[in-house]
Subunit: 194 residues, 6 copies
């Protein structure tokens, strides 16, 4: 592989580092004191995608892979809040991805580009699950921030309404009935493992 291709692959990894620095804008607007990063969100979204896909009988690994990359264009587009969408016309994720992968080894460019096109097409079961994972992750986080004092009801309602799969809907309903740390309190009362 040519050295210049290596440089482009490396640059992509440095670029992905921006996703750790950018806070999710919606939470900044909501007034959360120390909001999560885009990477934070994407990490759990990928795990949620695996779980939802498994429950739906889709390929969990593929769905997680789509979710892993679903916000990677935001290193260039930033995370535009709802109100901003009235005023900003963004290049498509496909255009951004093309720039991000230009000059990479061809297989790598195809691998990354493929996640973008499948996710945006909203057709495969894996894409549908990954999109639900994006919303369900947001709902879980909204519940967590609500427990920490911030009013996030608008985020909960919007996320809930956007869910498509019955598994994600079922988990979301449960999430509203159960508290985020319930698992820990139960584990605390369980017998010690040794």
């Amino acid at each position: 592989m040519a050295d210049e291709q290596d440089v482009r692959a490396l640059d992509y990894l440095y670029e992905a580092g921006l996703l750790k620095r950018y806070r999710r804008t919606g939470w900044v607007v909501a007034g959360v004191a120390a909001p999560e990063s885009i990477a934070d969100h994407s990490h759990r979204a990928a795990i949620v995608a695996a779980v939802v896909a498994e429950l739906e009988g889709a390929d969990p690994q593929r769905s997680a892979f789509l979710a892993l990359f679903h916000d990677t264009q935001e290193s260039r587009l930033t995370d535009i809040p709802y109100i901003g969408k009235r005023y900003l016309k963004a290049a498509s994720n496909a255009e951004v991805t093309a720039d991000q992968t230009a000059g990479m080894p061809e297989g790598l460019a195809r691998l990354i580009g493929g996640t973008e096109s499948e996710y945006e097409a909203r057709e495969s079961a894996e894409a549908v699950c990954a999109r639900d994972a994006d919303k369900l992750e947001c709902l879980l986080q909204a519940v967590e921030y609500r427990e920490q004092g911030t009013d996030t009801q608008a985020w909960i309602d919007t996320s809930f309404a956007a869910l498509k799969t019955s598994s994600a809907q079922r988990l979301a309903k449960l999430a509203l009935e159960r508290t985020p740390l319930a698992w820990m309190h139960e584990a605390r009362d369980a017998k010690s493992p040794k």
Copy 2:
């Protein structure tokens, strides 16, 4: 699926939320003012795994999947710093994963448990790439924190020395020669896309 299994699946997702709150302990020790979370690290590690596996001719999706989950036991074990390992004897990741997945739908438990066992076995090409991704991600972050003023040389050296694949070693060498924002300065000078 029984409701109790849903609860266990949901609880796993809430538990994964802790990975956003826990800071990577090594950076706290190093004195970084606002260190990344475990989820931050895991997100880019999964992307790095996909890239390294692709370059190595392994399955990038599987490798990313292993990296995605590789620190999920730390919601219960915390991120123990190097010095702490002299004083703390931890349950195995297998034991923690067993507790985390107990009561889940069987397919889901097997899916998650399978990432743990393959990653720990260090045998498959995908596991080797995922482990290199863990180290290479740390090296990239160390370079970034160094540019932001903190002395992270010890982390750079340790991470570099631990790399096994030639692709990861090649990218690591490049990472030390190139600055984290070089891609942006080059993109800035490029022609506008429209």
Copy 3:
């Protein structure tokens, strides 16, 4: 005055509160650990505008007023980083201001709208000084962040090159020769005031 007009005036003040929450995106990209807000920047920019205008023989109060409002559209547009400008086509500041001031008492809408149009026209001496203040403020902050460990040379160079008035250029040159806390060390050594 009709109550609805009051509501619109009040809403403008709540909207301006977002400028305290939004971090200046450039510093996030640069890796500053706890970057200033847009309001932080705008406050000193307005003071800089008064100083530069006074030195240039322009109206300092007018220039400060222009600088005070110069980024207020970012409550809806966000602070788009340089790289983002390749991918995002933003509504004009005039359009955003029109939305922000719609329904306000007419005098108030004209007052706010007038700052936008004068600033964007870049013609009056006061607008030129306010624009220089925007850049000079950024340069001062870049020097301060550099002293705190982050490499901000690119911001210093870009800001310096954009200055138009000889007063701003003179102050910028001095800023690079003198350290941000020099005034304090000198005041410390001065005689006590009482």
Copy 4:
């Protein structure tokens, strides 16, 4: 202009940078996790002053100018909390301003000093509006922090009681009836601008 005068003007701008770093002490006492800076407060206070002055038929530009500088002495005095005032006897703002402007070009010293003396005299309509802006801004922020989980009722009550102009009182009453993000939810439901 002599070079030494330039240095003093520049030093004033560096000194103003401290207002970005100092947190408003009252919010620290209240337990707000990431409190705003003095500059944050002053920026919106200046905008509030323009609005209130316009509604009161006073000169909005002058009132904003007074508000812009109204806390600039705190770079030397710090933001002393209420309880601290029982124990600390502070130099007058006039004395601090005299030190801050000593050695500056005479016109600039007079410009800055003039804001201090007019604001402290509490006589001109513009000073009265600027003082109301200081209080109204605090009330708005208190409402915002309350929505984010902190009990700030004492700050709301104290700020409300201190307002003098009927415009500020009217806006304050509205502020307590309306939520900080109401404007955004309404804009979200409005037709797209294009």
Copy 5:
């Protein structure tokens, strides 16, 4: 004293600096946005110990001294959260202290080691008061974080139940009836001291 012994004494002081950087893990789990450090907790715990011991007729200075050091082993063990104790078997505090004080001047090693053994033995009145101080401090902090929006009831209940001395129990009951800033509001209404 040999130079090597000085180095070991100095290293102990640098090591203690880690306690300022490590956040108390329980609050991270609870979702507090900017949690206190171990040093923060230990400082007030030592003051609480002095107060409780004085009220109980024990030696306040000794009890404060025990509390001052009671978490110093956490520079090596970290602050393991409740759930983590199921999975981590830690070396004893005695073992850690032995390592921390190895090579120090003998009197110093004995001084520090003595706090550990007395505190862990739970026998002397001073140790009992210091242990109550650890719990009462946690309860006070939990009340403070609750006022700032986070649900900390589980921490309040657990801390309360662990108190042994009647003085600490009495103060804890009062703490739940009175608000953290009551003292300030009363001081505010009192006559000025001059």
Copy 6:
């Protein structure tokens, strides 16, 4: 003990909680991104006092006790930076302590008041060591912040010059030769304890 006395004792403990929230002002001025609290400083200062006193042949427990309380008046006085001392005339620590302890059980008031008077008198060996601890702690922290990128040389020089005891001077000299994490790197290379 009368209930009112309990309330005063409790209020003192809540008041001490402010020391966790107040950042050390000098570091804010220096531009440290996330500066330590007054409680953070006081905790290590008390440990330093014990070490220095032990090395000097004074009573380490008494010296630590003095250091523990040495900044407790700052809950009312705040931490006034050097430049502020030119403009603020503070009540004496004795006056503040008298207010803080008014109404407490007499023994408790005497205990706390005694630390203030002995520390301020600067006569006992324990007071001299506690004062050196205040300075040496500041020097250690300055070295640590320097390693993290901020220029703190002025703080190092001032602290060093103020030291009185030969033990503190010796440790300070060593602190400048040795890095803050040296102990950890050495412990890392040592044999495992088990």
